[in-house]
Homo-oligomer: 433 residues x 2
């Protein structure tokens, strides 16, 4: 490559109005009419329209511009002009173009494609403006979540992927061999975070988690990212307050700073515009709603996707459903002291049918009760001995929750399916590319 002066990115163009600049990127699209050609160049920060006039450039430059194929990599130079008709409000009056690589015929021509074809070509599909907008939104949301927690004194403490035991049941675990012993891919870092919150007070882990679920729905991924804060001396009420503030913070930040990404995604902002507090209903009230709606559910059953949607439809903002029957939740949840058959757990359901985005609870802090639950749930006691230590030595009331990143992104971005919320989705029977 020749070294060029005044190298800028597309998003920096407004600061270079009237200047000669060089931009490196890929040809997204082009059209030509007589002695003028329009090249849409993308560089990852945006798309700029480069205008080429046959009379203004050399014959060689004109020919190069005419022959560029979709997704060819280029270095273009020209004058930045403000132009309200152009995407981004600026265009480039092209003076020179250099082909870095002339692309072969591109499989993802700019037309509609089937989902399987797009997933097979996920490595190329990611280059389209819509997918770029989702990736940028994902990056922004992840950064704001960590910022929210760190600003409140949380430390990020990473928990392991390879574990000897199962946190939430053994039927959906990926197994591997760890130097002769069976090991499993984690479904949650929670038990480990309970240990680290006794060291640091307020912690979170943020990593991939795995569920080998043999179901294929738009709400499930085999490999997904989960953010799991865990707080010492936190009650169930403290837990819900924190969740509400965190979701509110992220949505407000997206609306204030990334409105252009929502526009790129044709995401209506109105359903995201609401205020705290979020309504809180009990599991019992939720069951009443479901019966009113004619859905079948028995007290003690956990909710499925249709139940979550029916409950959420009653509200114009996220809704907490709390105090679930102990029998449909995990062993470590603190019973409600007023009514021990329900636990101090809550799910946060997103509006518009996006389902559960957070599941959390206060954890049992009493040694005897926790041991009783481990036995009641038929879990291998010896594998939980270290976890029981947390109740032997300085046990405190503590709470935490797990936020599914792709579900949060899907809701905020208004996506139809979780598969677009993660760069390389792992789905039932699909792990390529």
């Amino acid at each position: 490559m020749t070294e060029r002066e005044n190298l800028v990115t597309v998003d920096e163009m407004p600061q270079h109005e009237g200047q000669e600049v060089t931009i490196r990127g890929w040809l997204y699209n082009s059209r030509s009419g007589g002695s003028i050609a329009f090249l849409l160049i993308r560089d990852g920060t945006g798309i700029v329209q480069a205008v080429v006039a046959e009379d203004d450039v050399s014959a060689e430059v004109w020919e190069t511009a005419q022959n560029l194929t979709q997704e060819s990599s280029v270095i273009v130079a020209g004058l930045v002009n403000e132009d309200p008709r152009s995407p981004g409000g600026y265009e480039l009056h092209l003076r020179d173009v250099q082909t870095v690589q002339l692309a072969e015929e591109y499989p993802l021509a700019l037309k509609e494609h089937g989902v399987d074809f797009l997933l097979d070509n996920r490595h190329l599909w990611l280059r389209t403006p819509r997918q770029v907008a989702i990736l940028r939104l994902r990056d922004f949301i992840m950064a704001r979540l960590e910022e929210f927690l760190r600003d409140r004194g949380f430390s990020r403490v990473d928990t392991p992927i390879l574990t000897p035991n199962a946190c939430e049941g053994t039927t959906t675990l990926f197994e591997t061999e760890y130097f002769g012993d069976p090991a499993y891919l984690t479904q949650s870092g929670q038990l480990y975070s309970e240990a680290t919150c006794a060291a640091l007070g307020k912690v979170y882990c943020f990593s991939p988690a795995f569920r080998a679920e043999k179901s294929s729905t738009r709400r499930h991924l085999i490999e997904f990212w989960m953010l799991e804060p865990e707080m010492a001396f936190f009650t169930h009420e403290d837990n819900l307050d924190l969740q509400e503030k965190m979701i509110d913070y992220v949505i407000t930040q997206v609306l204030q700073k990334k409105g252009e990404l929502l526009e790129e995604l044709d995401r209506d902002k109105d359903p995201l515009t609401f205020e705290r507090p979020y309504p809180r209903i009990t599991y019992d009230e939720a069951v009443d709603i479901l019966h009113e709606e004619g859905l079948s559910i028995q007290w003690g059953d956990d909710f499925g996707a249709p139940h979550e949607t029916a409950i959420a439809e009653r509200f114009d903002r996220p809704v907490f459903v709390e105090r679930f029957p102990a029998e449909c939740k995990a062993f470590y949840m603190e019973p409600d002291p007023q009514r021990p058959e329900v636990v101090l757990a809550a799910d946060l359901l997103a509006p518009e049918g996006y389902g559960e985005i957070i599941g959390g609870s206060q954890r049992i802090d009493d040694y005897d009760l926790l041991l009783e639950k481990i036995r009641e749930f038929g879990l291998p006691e010896e594998e939980f001995d270290w976890y029981l230590d947390l109740r032997r030595y300085g046990s405190v009331p503590h709470s935490g929750f797990g936020l599914g990143i792709e579900r949060l992104i899907s809701w905020i971005a208004g996506l139809d399916h979780l598969r677009e919320a993660i760069p390389f989705p792992r789905l039932l029977n699909r792990m390529r590319p």
Copy 2:
């Protein structure tokens, strides 16, 4: 728990001089002399000394304070006094103490323990001031690395853990079954990041990576965290410049803002005080140094830990070793145009025997050459078809690198072994707790 007024954390005490406050935490240590007792209370943000005078408190409070065992969880209330003799410069004149849970006899008494015992009790070992300082430093370093990249226009784009193929060889892979097909735990997100950098320009992935190495050294973990930036239109030289600036930024931030953590760790700051540029030597020059030092190495061999240490000892700051023989590096590295038997790759070696903290390279952008290398290395061509697409459609010169988080932390913190740099280390034959 009784609700208490003026709840503060230990690190907030300086703002509450002369006030009555409440602190929640754990008893780290205590001593008693006649009618006065000293309780060291830790709460994750720091340790405060609470002074209890028998004459100033009720008989009940005095007795409670006397009977607290190590690691019991407590809520204490009292008056904040500046006292230069106290750890942190402030002490609490205790007025009230409430036991949340009286700990059983704590296995990690405050004395020396063997490493196996500490690793068996990692969930408790993490509560000691030294381990807390390492965790806080880890959190700080991870945040600064991401901040450095995001401030420069990078997007975080997550890459998958479950993959159908091996990036850097198949002998050290963890295998699992993915709905009937073999799947492997990733050793690097790089190939995927090469795809996403063609969509977004500058990207990084940041996730766990896995190497089932049957060796047990102080420099290896089975599961570790890796930060892997990948940049379109970046040459080998651009790559080294970015790495140097990133390391410089993180070290400067640690020295400026987290000096107290280094002091807690007895880490001498002098060896961390150096300036850019970092020296750059070729592989050939490195081999000469090794021969001068009497170490055995043949041209074409990769370096082992003793080699890295011997090279690094010649310099007072990190040193880049560049232009390695193609035969000892991965298939995707761009040959040096002046000398095709070496590749445009570099390792960054930390001083003081901490070894390689970064490995990076310019990637091959030519389709034909990449295909030739895939065949030469005996890799399954069909598994790399999607990767070859990146050279068919808009290939550009691009570079990237992988930073081992635990190695960087070990060096900055001055640790003897990587196992202390990660909350729950996975080592040869060890994945508990």
